[in-house]
Amino acid sequence: MSDFHPNAKGGFIENTLEGLHFALSRAMHAEASAARTGLLQRLDPRVKVAGFLALVVAVALATKLWLIAAILVVAVALVVISSIPVRAVASRTWIGAFLFSGAIALPALFLTPGTPLYGLPITVQGLRTGSFLLMRAETAATLMLVLAYTTPWTHILKALRIFRVPVVFVVILGMTCRYILLMLETAHEMFESRKSRTVNRMTPAENRRLAIASSGVLLHKTLHLSDEVYLAMQARGFRGEVYVLDDFAMQARDWFALAAFAALTGIAIVVGR
């Protein structure tokens, strides 16, 4: 033990847990945006899941840069007409995808054999390869973000059933999301409780020991919770097979949107070859 640090920042594990909790909460509860009355929010989730996945496939197959850019323009237009805050898209998606894909694409500029570009140490072919990677990543990420911001995650999970994903898998996925958040909250409270009883800064070795002990306690709590959840399911008639409601109903605008997605994807695949 050493100096007194009343406002000492949390350790690596604590900060990671807090970050995870924040990110998961934000990702799974984009309810405010999904509840807005934009164009896409009113569509059947099955149409959106199928349509956006088809567009992502078309982007992956496209061999013309202008075509990928055109789909990105369509995605940005959807962001605007669906009342999604553009600043949030820029900060959470475009910058992130640019930095991540850019780091991967950067070596290709120098290492891809081909014609040098204006005497620079990069090649035309390298620039083309890097641009494809970057544009595909930006476009696919934007399309998925539009889906996530216009559809509650619970509906996205349910919509997975159109791809013949087994009911039990969809239910388990939903429960996993729910209980990961609950356990992250528990872990967060455990670290806060520890912080409230700690006046001195702990050594790295002490922090590691405490983190391991906390992991053990958390694992025990997780097992106990899973036992209790299983009993609660049994108490309401669960016999090993899950039955759920299919409560989506296609309307005229959904069929129209489905046709639009299909046409756009078909054109993109044919033209982009």
């Binding site: 619970t154 429960m175 919770l225 609660a232 409601l245």
Partner: protein
Amino acid sequence: MMLFEVEHLTYRYEGVTAIDDLTMAIPEGRVALLGANGSGKSTLLRLLDGLIFGQSGAILFRGDDVSEEHMLDDAFALPFRRTVGMVFQNPDVQLFNPTVFDEVAFGPLQLRWPKQEVRDRVDEILERLRIGHLKNRIPQRLSGGEKKRVALASVLVLDPAVLLLDEPTAALDPRSQSEVIDLMVEWGGGSKSVITATHDLGDLEDIADHCYVLDAGKLVADGSPAEILADTELLRRTNLIHAHRHRHGGELHSHPHVHG
């Protein structure tokens, strides 16, 4: 015929004897299982609901054996689940579905009700419990009182003839406690059986006509709420009350204190 008959039941868990050679008969009607933390009342509710099974002894529900073998048989288990509903102490273990509507629909769907009937019944129970406005919400984001109401709705939707409640007012604010108690009192109009495990003596006379007091997995007393509440020595011995010390003027004064 008794609602439940418990015969020489023993249940051990991780080396601890939670229920110790217990024999008791529970009648139809409103019943309270009283006991301090660790007295075995929550475990007994799980045993009565056929969720866990004792190492020895037996439980009969209206004369039928609630054994592990019997619960594996759909012909017994599905009507039993339809008849006996249980609300857990911690609503988080009971709220595992993506939305409140899905949560309440879970039980009827597992019991293979027609889907239109499920939709109608869920809407009806949500309105009855005044939580219709929460139907599309994610259960995790609800307040403690709202979670408890949804947990209750998820069981009451089945309209069970017998309701098992584990500490129904635990960790609720006073207003939510009062609302839950009102619900229990009003529910079924007196035609249903309600077994409540609690250590809260404040509302005992509202929720029960007969009480059983458990201590260390054994039955130590039973009687009407008035009889049990009058036995201060019993309540003190079973940790259901404690001495409350405070000052009147300058003089220190002490008397038994009941929580609730």
